[in-house]
Symmetry: D2
Subunit: 308 residues, 4 copies
């Protein structure tokens, strides 16, 4: 199925190609200015730090649906090895093989393409096996630290988890912002909680992945209007799956990553943060979430930290 | 060679076993209190963010000297794959295989053992191929964000790079702190710059690795006296190599990781930070450096960020 | 559960420690003499070659039950890369990550140990993370080519697949040999068909793995009496699972690998061979099945070929 | 540099596209008939088996020149793990990450392409990250077992190793065949010994790789005239490197793999075989060399065995 007119209409409204110049590779991450960083820093009260990453191991998020997106295979290459002789100081070392999008991660802008184009209008074939992403790889991200805002849609609606068929709409986001008494500002990273991850934490990996609540195709305009720097949530697919428009898969990916140039995060554990924000009655915090700089990577695991 | 009496004397003085209870797994990371976090946050002025990680790719830090500690092998599993039919939104995905200590990384406390023990007196054989580190794995780290302090020993001495035979002493650290007009406090993460990484950046990977300047066996007491939370530097081996006491390899690893329970970081790129601190005339900053939570990992790549 | 007296009684009867000297690493593979090879060669009539390996890919045999035993993750590192300039000859390259026991494979003798010992009485702790198997690694195998014999137990019994609770007994082996009018001789590799693999080929990976028919704890004596060089079959676990003696898991592994020093093969595809032997009315053939020589490996994928 | 007229002239003469039908994927492997297999079997005298694979480990053939073509990284996932309780039978398991062309290997026909085409005229873009090689992958190989012939060019010329600048010509091949009193026949696999591997075995990996003697651009016609099924040798690059025609890199790859559809093997250890053939005064033998069936693989490690 080629992309329908309604997709292209939204695309025109959120498109940021050229906004930061023709050579730009980082899109809305340009919006994280020193001012935005200082706004994030200014939210800190107690200094409580909340981790948002899932543990990395076999038996993680992946259920085999996406070939190649493998759970971390973590193996020891040395165990208490006395490399310098018996009685010497011993060393343990380890290695990992994993999909860069397998666990809590950021999508690079190059994770999606459509109509042969990636962000900023570059040809999609600038991604090759040999070079990986020549532009807009995950290593192009500036250090990702700014103000974070939790829009706790599930809690706002008084449920632990949104139904699988629930597309998170701009109205839901407004409602959650009001619930949290927080105003989303330019350069913020917005975290949207659906509660879906609870399924994965309870061991139901397939149920977690599909079907899944997630962001509506109408949300990119909401983020665009507010100059949000990036958005992450607690689902495998980020957007509602199966999609709202039959046969149009991954439209939000195409709008956020390709048209706006806005990174997306998935599989973020927002459960502890949800409780902490509710208790503190504050839904803004300092967020630190720098990806690992894989050269030309189209994604990266990340260990995000919220500081209240 | 078994460990000599002088090692055991220092070990006694810096030992933290039991200090945070018999079940503690994180050692000096306990010292990163809310107060320490707030002290870090309080240093931020401009919001300038400086990345401290090396790019992750083949042709990185490793030269093959440590078998199994392999440079990142990063491969594409999908390139603009139209998984949902021709004309659909396309997706690119990738995977990596890498040594967890191969690039800019944290050592978990379990990276070293001696005399059959790891930190807090636990048996070293709690690390197995099947379970990896059952205690004090890298996933036990609380989110690592606190005040960072750069002790720029090379700049203090007016050189780009310390000679290979230079063991960084407590006196050097005092001198660099004075140069930076900064006082190391409890819960700080200290970054020690030798300038050695410049060799690696210039393409001399073997010269970078060995021989190498690094921390003296006398420094653990200095860090212990100040209740430093963790220390990282810009070398492959962290400590001076070959070692100060002939035949006694990796004594600083054994003192820091096993005895004190203080994490070490290696291969951190402190070159840009050095310039930025010198220009800002400030050597304290907010440091965010959470490792990826590999369950039972004895190390992890990290993408540290300093915020000035 | 420690090993019961009945295990130790069988162990005594099949034990080959010292039979080929104290420094021997290959056990019954010593039995593949030039004469045995020539006997294998002498069976060839038509030259028809039948492959016995499963395809290597994601979605293979593994269902996640054994952490770390991962299906092949096969990725391209170059795709038609014109490394020498536009218009030049282009190259495609690829890499794999996989468990050495994940697909059609040989177990090295070191794949199992009991009571702290591996084959020939060596200490089990000669296998380490750093060195892998210092003795009896898969790389110690001499080139494995000899006469092969198919004992088609399923066909003999007139079924497509043995029931899950069926332990293949010495009597079953005798019956299948008689059915195939073949006499097992010293230095032969025996292939035992249960038909269980059909479950895997039909997509039921979990059903394939457990529960499973397989060799009875009484079969090692049968193989020992005939000086068989190695045995392979078409199941995940080789021996009947759950085991015949409650709580005594993997006794056949311990008897074959540790006591006799006889390699085992698993996940061999014997379906096509079964048909071919039935049509040719011959159950002996030339078998070529050399493992890949991973240094210190405790197993290896293998692409066996039977030549009729 | 685009391909010069002299390349296209040879290409026309050796081209096999369509010879075995438009849907053919295996090229000259079609020439291994039952008769060829029986001819291989008929050469066996003593049953002596000679392995031709290099050991698989770190510190192998690769020197880092080809990114992504990594030496085997072999790690233990279980070491004597008593998965069923203390005292139970224990298991050791392992995994590997490696380049499929990193060690002793076969090139699939898809390893090379030129002018947008692979063997049999198919589009080169049938190789993708997602599907790998959709046609002519290494898994399409029929079981590779036939007569092998050693053309020991180095021994024929009375040297241990050919000079780096020596392109092995058709005349050299004739001379070596005469030296070995052997006639190359249809369906044979020809092994060409240069002696270059001795450099690698002596630890000089860079010297081994480049510059290197190897097959001349004139040899494909020689193999084509004799209907050879496949050719392997003891170099990293197979063909002489740097190439005979300045700027025309990998012409032999393009002629053998793309035009003729004839597989190539590299890094084969022919040293022991050379001695054995000289002693036996016979240069033909049974060769068994089935690759591992990676689905869509453009190469595979192989553990070839010659039987004299």
């Amino acid at each position: 199925m080629s992309l329908p007119p309604e997709f292209h209409e939204i695309a025109r409204r959120v498109n940021n190609w050229g906004r930061w110049g023709g050579s730009d590779e980082i899109g809305t991450l340009n919006l994280i200015t020193g001012e935005a960083v200082r706004a994030g820093v200014a939210t800190v009260r107690s200094g409580e730090r909340i981790p948002l990453a899932l543990p990395l191991r076999q038996g993680g998020v992946q259920s085999g649906l996406v070939p190649g997106r493998v759970d971390p295979l973590h193996t020891m290459t040395q165990i208490n090895a006395e490399l310098f002789g018996p009685g010497a100081v011993a060393v343990s070392d380890d290695t990992v093989t994993m999909g860069l999008q397998a666990a809590t991660h950021w999508d690079a802008l190059t994770h999606a393409s459509h109509s042969g184009r990636i962000y900023n209008g570059r040809p999609a074939d600038t991604i090759t096996a040999h070079t990986r992403a020549r532009f807009s790889g995950i290593d192009s991200f500036p250090p990702l630290l700014t103000r974070g805002v939790l829009l706790d849609v599930a809690r706002t609606k008084g449920v632990d988890r949104l139904p699988a068929a629930h597309a998170v709409t701009p109205e839901d986001l407004d409602e959650a912002a009001e619930f949290g008494r927080v105003t989303v500002a330019a350069g913020d990273v917005v975290l949207v909680r659906t509660g879906q991850l609870a399924l994965c934490l309870a061991g139901d990996r397939r149920g977690y992945g599909f079907p899944s609540p997630g962001l509506s195709v109408r949300t990119p305009e909401w983020f665009h209007a507010r100059d949000v720097a990036a958005v992450a949530n607690d689902t495998l697919t980020f957007e509602i799956t199966p999609p709202e428009i039959e046969g149009l898969w991954l439209p939000v990916h195409a709008l956020d990553l390709v048209e706006m140039g806005m990174p997306q995060g998935q599989n973020w554990n927002l459960e502890i943060l949800s409780t902490a924000c509710a208790q503190a009655r504050r839904y803004a915090f300092l967020l630190s979430a720098a990806p690992e700089p894989f050269v030309g990577g189209t994604g990266s695991p990340v260990a995000p930290v919220a500081v209240l």
